[in-house]
């Protein structure tokens, strides 16, 4: 059973690396006609770690992001999602491997050139409280301006466009410090949009937000993909949400890519058991697979009844108690 699954994952990875085959792989592709303008983005044999620790967090993994699609990165705490994203955005130096953007190695680009191609929204953001929303969004134009340049008309247009796309028009002159957590997150997204890049990397844009704001952010992501052909990679904690909004999912465990494919392919009871260590019930619905967690798995589960995994979770005694209720 375990061996089978690993094989499955490996083959999934291969299909991703050979993009053509994936595209014909039964994967739906809503924007096939506009794909030509979307950016290709791929990392090969990546080794990424922190200077403070010897062991790299990501060890020789490859990832190929579908142009013009939304790719979701999922995995348990500390599995290396943020690390991978920082590596892809050249914020963490690669210990090994190459990252190609539209056929060019990103290390051959100057920092500002890269920032014109690739935008990153970090997990945590800070800004002075008294800065206005418009000024903050304006900083998104930094990579497009020289040392002495002032704002051009094109910069102004890009700022206006980003603000209206993020739906924060009415906040334009407010001070960032006076906004609620959810509104702040939207403003940061607007700043990244003003960067006008073809690739966007978003790290947990929905954490700390309540349901309302979470949904709002995910709608913007969809709009971007649909209207502007932007390639988006987004880290999400909520697998339900990831399955619903992403075209493609990548599951990380202990720094390794464990599975890779469409939400339907990735979100399986077996994967939830192996990666997230939970027994869960996965039902396909019209909005993608729907997950109902049942019980956490323990280390002993792996040792004692590894053969059971993913097959007869439904009949475990604990679970029976619960269905009794």
């Amino acid at each position: 059973m375990r061996d089978e699954q690993t094989l499955e994952t490996d083959s999934g990875l291969e299909t991703v690396l050979e993009r053509e085959s994936t595209l014909t792989n039964g994967q739906h592709d809503p924007d096939a006609e506009s794909n030509c303008s979307a950016s290709e983005f791929a990392g090969q044999d990546l080794v990424i770690g922190y200077p403070s620790s010897d062991e790299p967090v990501i060890n020789r993994e490859s990832i190929h992001v579908m142009p013009g699609e939304v790719t979701a990165l999922v995995g348990p705490n500390g599995s290396g999602k943020s690390t991978l994203l920082k590596g892809l955005a050249d914020q963490l130096a690669l210990e090994d491997g190459t990252i190609m953007l539209d056929g060019k190695d990103i290390h051959s680009l100057k920092t500002k050139e890269l920032a014109r191609e690739l935008g990153l929204l970090s997990q945590e953001n800070v800004s002075p409280n008294s800065i206005s929303v418009e000024e903050l969004v304006g900083h998104g134009r930094y990579p497009h301006r020289g040392f002495f340049d002032s704002l051009t008309d094109e910069d102004r247009r890009a700022i206006d466009r980003a603000i209206s796309l993020a739906g924060v028009d009415h906040l334009r002159e407010r001070e960032v410090g006076s906004l609620s957590g959810g509104q702040k997150q939207l403003v940061w997204i607007a700043m990244v949009l003003a960067q006008e890049t073809n690739v966007l990397l978003l790290d947990e844009p929905t954490t700390f937000l309540d349901l309302h704001h979470q949904l709002e952010v995910m709608e913007i992501v969809e709009t971007l993909r649909d209207q502007s052909d932007i390639t988006v990679v987004v880290v999400l904690h909520d697998i339900d949400q990831a399955a619903r909004y992403a075209d493609h999912m990548v599951a990380l465990k202990d720094g390794s890519i464990y599975a890779n494919g469409s939400p339907e392919e990735v979100v399986t009871e077996g994967l939830l058991a192996d990666v997230f260590e939970i027994d869960a019930d996965v039902q396909p619905t019209e909005r993608g697979p729907q997950i109902t967690p049942i019980r956490p798995r323990h280390d002993d589960d792996d040792d004692q009844d590894s053969t059971e995994t993913g097959t007869d979770t439904e009949s475990s005694p604990d679970n029976a108690t619960k269905t009794d209720r």
Binding site: S52, K110, A115, G140, P143, R161, S164, L165, D229
Partner: protein, 376 residues
């Protein structure tokens, strides 16, 4: 990319109106500061040990024979021989006015230096005072006075080098895969106390009170006894530092968004941070070289200006260039006349103490008012 058409015109006018309002507050600040400087300067030239009526003093200030005398300005700014002039003019132009000018330069340097350090460390508490520059300068001064007595002529230079070294040490200690505000402040505090302890140790090796007095004067900061020498020494560096600060204000704005964001916007953060620190140390060193370690100006002026013009560094730097001198000149009036008003004696207090006595409580007030203050 297909953007939705937006109502360009209304947005632009709205934005411009708003910038105007903002610039209005900046202009008010600048004009107010100039008024304070002029008033403070005129008060300063009116008092001194030499008996002169206020009218005589002001006449001496506006004495056309000095103001329009190229040779006088050559003497002042280039160090040539001072031409003949009456005693009143000599005293006003040679003794009383230079003190005001030095105050202006020092105020400018400290305020801008503080503002830059605050951006570099993204820490509201940063100032040359807190990041070790001053303790480094103080230690070098004492070392020179006590151990290498012969080098006393290079004291200003040595002080600046000491300040720069201390900042580098603080930076190096705080550096651990990049710096963090809290680490910088902690390193600054500790380096400051260690250097302080070394300073006191040196006091013990100083075998006479002259050295001690001299060292205390340096480490407290004072404008007493400054003259055109000091103006000549500080002016060029101040000009360079102010220009660089103005040019790089946009970099500071982006730095305020945090290292991660700045990086992802394409900034080479560590380079920019280091270059900016260099400018700030230059400004701080220029002021230490002529007036010793004047505390708190570098800490509070940026806060005061920020309260008025907001945290946009374009405006903040300009505001500091005007408000710093205003505070400094005003504090120096306090230093000269404070004791006269309070105790009726004509003792002068070092200006560094006046700024400390004003700045400390103001800062504590800020801290009590703002919840966030403590949270950096």
């Amino acid at each position: 990319m297909a953007g939705e058409p937006v109502t360009e015109t209304t947005t632009t006018t709205r934005r411009e109106r708003w910038l105007d309002w903002f610039d209005g507050s900046l202009i008010t600040l600048c004009l107010g500061s100039i008024a304070v400087i002029v008033a403070g300067g005129l008060i300063q030239v009116s008092f001194g040990a030499f008996s002169m009526s206020i009218v005589q003093a002001w006449q001496a200030v506006f004495n056309p024979e000095v103001i329009f005398n190229v040779r006088a300005w050559e003497a002042f700014l280039l160090g040539a021989d001072v031409p003949e002039m009456n005693t009143q003019s000599l005293i006003v132009w040679n003794i009383r006015l230079p003190r005001v000018f030095v105050g202006i330069l020092v105020g400018m340097n400290l305020a801008v230096s503080g503002a830059i350090f605050q951006a570099v460390t993204r820490n509201e508490l940063a100032s040359p005072f807190i990041l070790g520059v001053s303790s480094g300068a103080g230690l070098m001064i004492l070392l020179t006075l006590v151990v290498f007595g012969g080098l006393a002529a290079f004291l200003p230079l040595i002080a600046s080098v000491g300040g720069a070294l201390a900042f580098l040490i603080v930076y190096a200690i705080a550096w651990k895969n990049g710096t963090s505000p809290v680490r910088l402040v902690l390193a600054g505090v500790i380096v400051g106390t260690v250097f302080g302890s070394l300073q006191t140790a040196l006091f013990f090796f100083a075998d006479d009170i002259g050295v001690v007095q001299s060292a205390i004067a340096w480490t407290t900061g004072s404008l007493t006894g400054t003259d055109w020498d000091q103006v000549r020494m500080a002016l060029p560096w101040t000009a360079v530092a102010m220009l660089l600060a103005l040019i790089s204000s946009r970099q500071m704005n982006v730095l305020l968004l945090g290292e991660n964001t700045a990086k992802s916007l394409g900034m080479s953060v560590e380079k920019v941070r280091f270059a900016l620190s260099g400018v700030a140390v230059l400004a701080a060193a220029a002021s230490i070289a002529v007036a010793g370690i004047v505390g708190f100006v570098g800490l509070i002026v940026p806060h005061m200006v920020r309260n008025i013009v907001g945290s946009n560094y374009k405006k903040l730097v300009i505001g500091c260039i005007f408000a710093g001198p205003a505070l400094m000149v005003a504090a120096d009036v306090g230093a000269r006349l404070g004791m006269a008003v309070i105790a009726g004696s004509d003792t002068q207090i070092p200006v560094g103490i006046v700024t400390g006595l004003i700045g400390g409580p103001y800062f504590l007030y800020l801290m009590r008012r703002q919840d966030k203050m403590g949270e950096i």
